[in-house]
């Protein structure tokens, strides 16, 4: 009945039929359970009304999606680059590497700026998390974690703690102490628990709440102090690779992107998926809000970055070029939102004119994939992390 091969890491009694067999870890109504493959198939067909089949439901869903696209197009009376014709062409940008941060022993997977505009935290494949004063190149803290592939790290808004997580399926918060003798790793506190790797994490407006995205297809909001799950967000059908909080007045939404090629906007209070965009042709590696909060950009393995308008409810620009063959793994806006910096798997950073849709310039320097780019909080510089084990600051 089941024609898919899968690797099962657990073997035990099925939650449904109690027979011991290789188990699949799935979600039913937002609850994680373990079923054997036969029960998975049976469960898939449950809840069908008379005359319905999975096929008919799938067809209905697809028809509605087409109708939705038509509706979205009705209000599409002009394209972004047309409106942008009256905007002045960008003057030549002269962006150079100003700092190279060396110290990681392996691929650097993630970085984040501190609110003080000069410090940053970075995490790498060898399990090390380092806090740097990027201005002086000083390493201020180094925390070795027991797991490899620390995919996500974030600086707390107060600057007094960092969060990191990855292949250990957890996201931990580490308070930054200045006592050189203190073992930071010992003060590490596990906050988030997922059933697969943690791909992204971010503090909300304070040090007390943490938002995480995971390879288990969900995002979750946690209370840092108690480690309690405050809200979970289900809707993606594959790994969620990235998330970003909206810079809005009411501060209640965030966007996530994943391997199902979808970008979803969520309401943090209710856990509902309020908007969904599906136009990429491959995994979405990164999502980032436009500074005003009315739009967001996404970077994908299909070698394009796309710009989505939340009020018009559609994709309004695609940033691509024939000569760009490799996937984009990360993106971020400059302070005014006019420039979009995107890091690619061909070791370059392309800088796009968001409004006109053209490529403003290309930054060379890294010697392996660029895994993360982030503009500093006051917009004075761009920080980038790469698989060549270095970080660079560009200005």
């Amino acid at each position: 009945m089941c024609d898919q091969t899968f690797m099962a890491a657990t073997f035990g009694p099925c939650d449904s039929c109690s027979k011991p067999s290789p188990l699949m870890n799935i979600y039913i109504k937002n609850e994680a359970t373990n079923y054997c493959s036969l029960c998975v198939e049976m469960m898939a067909c449950q809840g069908l009304q008379k005359g319905e089949t999975l096929e008919s439901l799938k067809r209905e869903s697809e028809t509605l999606k087409k109708k939705l696209e038509e509706e979205r197009n009705k209000l599409n009376d002009v394209e972004l680059h047309q409106v942008a014709e009256k905007v002045e062409v960008l003057s030549a940008l002269s962006i150079k590497t100003r700092r190279v941060l060396k110290g990681h022993g392996n691929k650097v997977l993630c970085m984040d700026w501190c609110k003080d505009k000069r410090r940053m935290v970075s995490s790498s494949q060898d399990g090390k998390v380092i806090v740097w004063d990027a201005f002086t190149l000083n390493k201020e803290h180094g925390v070795p974690l027991p797991c490899t592939w620390v995919l996500a790290c974030a600086y707390a808004p107060s600057g007094c703690a960092i969060a990191c997580g990855g292949l250990d399926n957890k996201c931990s918060v580490i308070p930054l102490s200045l006592d050189k003798n203190e073992n930071l790793a010992a003060k590490k506190k596990s906050v988030a628990m997922h059933t697969n790797y943690v791909s992204g994490c971010s503090f909300t407006n304070s040090d007390m709440q943490l938002l995480t995205s995971s390879g288990d297809g969900t995002c979750a909001l946690w209370d840092v102090e108690s480690g309690q799950l405050l809200q979970s967000f289900h809707g993606h059908t594959a790994d969620v690779l990235s998330l970003d909080l909206a810079p809005s007045e009411t501060g209640n939404t965030f966007v996530s992107g994943g391997c199902d090629m979808k970008a979803n906007v969520w309401d943090m209070r209710s856990g509902q998926n309020i908007q969904s965009f599906e136009s990429h042709e491959s995994d979405i590696n990164c999502v980032k809000y436009y500074p005003s909060g009315d739009a967001f950009a996404s970077a994908s393995d299909d070698a394009t970055c796309r710009f989505y308008d939340l009020r018009a409810d559609r994709e309004v620009a695609v940033y691509q070029k024939d000569s760009i063959i490799f996937g984009a793994s990360t993106c971020d806006f400059s302070l005014s939102g006019r420039l979009l910096f995107a890091g690619y798997n061909d070791y370059t950073i392309n800088v796009w004119d968001v409004l006109k849709g053209t490529r403003a310039t290309i930054l060379f320097g890294h010697e392996n994939r660029v895994s993360r780019v982030r503009v500093s909080p006051d917009g004075t510089a761009l920080g980038s992390a790469s698989w060549d084990s270095t970080l660079r600051v560009w200005a």
């Binding site: 898919q4 690797m7 657990t10 699949m24 870890n25 799935i26 979600y27 109504k29 449950q46 809840g47 069908l48 999975l54 439901l57 799938k58 509605l64 109708k67 509706e71 002009v78 972004l80 409106v83 942008a84 905007v87 003080d116 505009k117 410090r119 004063d133 201005f135 002086t136 007094c160 200045l178 407006n205 297809g217 209370d223 405050l230 594959a238 810079p247 007045e249 391997c259 090629m261 491959s282 500074p291 005003s292 393995d301 308008d309 018009a312 409810d313 559609r314 070029k321 024939d322 063959i325 996937g327 400059s334 005014s336 006019r338 061909d346 006051d378 917009g379 004075t380 510089a381 698989w387």
Partner: protein, 470 residues
């Protein structure tokens, strides 16, 4: 415990997509009309046909994609790194040189995408061939791998050696030029699929990602019904005309253009470029006199004003004058509830009720009766979002009423007039002397100090209170 479910053919989707694209470029390069001009290249005493120079490759890419030479060199380098083009001179060094160095296209038989992943067996046969052909031709690392393979697949070793001998015999019957070409092609293939130690493995894709629509979230009737429901809701949502939305982006970018250091520079200078931290010192959280750009930014939106500590303080001062400061205090207290620890919610909600909502409260806020009733009802079972409606009401009150009046007030206008416009730092007379880069106190340090000072103050207070008992 985690389970990986790999759907059929799910491996390396991203990598395969890149290969297809690179192959398109390669095919275009070999187009008889629009492709590259090839010529014969001399290698020692043999003539290799269908070769091209590095310079030609870069020129062709520059013209075809309308890119700079630097970018063409980078793209060409990728083609070499992934094995689609290999060098004839110095074949172990997979780098594109922008000069007369000869290069050749790799045959599709040896494209990485054709035979992927490269098998251990094939590698063993390749190394065996090298070993048999000329003693001592194997490099150190190849010798090590050869013996490792010998141990690992010992059971098929006879087959390996037999294959190697057969292939060598067949190659002896080829023309010398063809033989050299085949050896070069095979070597290039293995340099990429089994890179020498110290060389980046370009085929490294990082963590495995299971294919979409994996069974982790099963596509059952429930899932489709939810999708249908979401689509129906989305169909009913209000959308704004594109022309209006897009104008919004233009306006925003224009408004913030002068504030974007990467685009317009910043005064007195960008610290990352000049090593001078004056810009940060002048824009620190609390300064005696703020910069003009900063004060201007407070007029862009209410959120900008509130997000800036100094702006918020100024606004508070203004509200005190207008006797409506309780609004801002209330808003801040609600923010504290929303973003604070779970454990303190009940206590904080009670405080807010006492200070702002209870009849006769010291800082009573003026909320409409409907919202007030709803909030008071919600307080009976306090949760994180219980104050949301009230908070929103007060926020918009301040935004629509107090904020615009603040911007027209003398308080703001004076601040704007007083604000400094820093002088642009003239470039140093001795540009080769790098300024000393000063370190700054870590936020963690200032927080600890502040906490300590607060603790001392509390202690002193307590002591004096205790002292006054007697």
């Amino acid at each position: 415990m985690t389970i990986n479910t790999l759907a059929k053919g799910g491996c390396h989707r991203e990598q395969m997509a890149c290969f297809r694209k690179m192959e398109k470029v390669i095919v275009a390069m070999q187009d008889p009309d629009m492709g590259m001009k090839m010529r014969n290249q001399r290698l020692l005493i043999t003539v290799i046909p269908h070769a091209m120079t590095g310079h030609d490759i870069i020129t062709w890419l520059t013209h075809k994609y309308r890119i700079s030479e630097e970018e063409a060199l980078h793209l060409g380098n990728m083609l070499v790194k992934y094995g689609y083009i290999y060098p004839l001179k110095e074949p172990r060094c997979l780098v594109l040189r922008p000069d007369e160095s000869p290069y050749r296209f790799q045959t599709p038989y040896f494209w990485t995408s054709t035979r992927w992943p490269a098998s251990e067996l094939d590698y063993a046969i390749y190394l065996a061939k090298k070993n048999i052909r000329k003693q001592g031709e194997l490099m150190e690392y190849e010798k090590e791998r050869y013996s490792l393979l010998h141990k690992r697949i010992n059971h098929t070793w006879d087959f390996v050696v037999m294959q190697a001998r057969e292939q060598l015999r067949a190659s002896k019957q080829r023309r010398k030029a063809d033989r050299i070409v085949l050896e070069c092609q095979e070597q290039a293939y293995w340099l990429i699929n089994r890179p020498p130690p110290g060389v980046n493995n370009v085929l490294d894709t990082g963590l495995e990602r299971p294919n979409n629509f994996s069974c982790r979230v099963t596509l059952n009737s429930d899932y489709y019904k939810r999708e249908i429901e979401a689509c129906r809701k989305a169909l009913g949502r209000n959308r704004v005309k594109s022309s209006i939305c897009l104008e919004g982006f233009l306006k925003y970018s224009e408004q913030y253009l002068n504030h974007d250091p990467i685009m317009q520079g910043c005064l007195p200078s960008n610290p990352w470029i000049s090593d001078d931290t004056a810009h940060w010192t002048m824009n620190a959280e609390i300064v005696p006199v703020p910069t003009r750009l900063r004060v201007e930014r407070w007029s862009f939106s209410f959120m900008e004003l509130l997000n800036d500590a100094m702006g918020r303080k100024e606004f508070m001062t203004y509200l005190e004058k207008e006797f409506s400061a309780e609004n801002l205090y209330f808003w801040q207290a609600c923010e504290d509830i929303r973003h604070g620890e779970n454990s303190k919610i009940v206590e904080k909600v009670e405080d807010v009720y006492k200070n702002f909502l209870a009849p006769g409260a010291a800082r009573w806020v003026n909320i409409d009766s409907k919202t007030m009733d709803k909030t008071l009802e919600g307080i009976k079972r306090p949760h994180r979002f219980v104050m949301d409606d009230a908070q929103m009401h007060i926020y918009f009150l301040m935004k629509k009423d107090s904020y615009p009046r603040y911007l027209k007030s003398d308080l703001y206008k004076n601040m704007l007039a007083k604000a400094i416009v820093p002088q642009e730092t003239k470039k140093s007379v001795f540009p080769f002397m790098r300024r000393q880069r000063h370190s700054s106190p870590s936020p963690a340090q200032t927080a600890t100090q502040a906490a300590e000072e607060e603790g001392l103050a509390k202690g002193a207070g307590a002591n004096s209170a205790a002292g006054s008992h007697f």
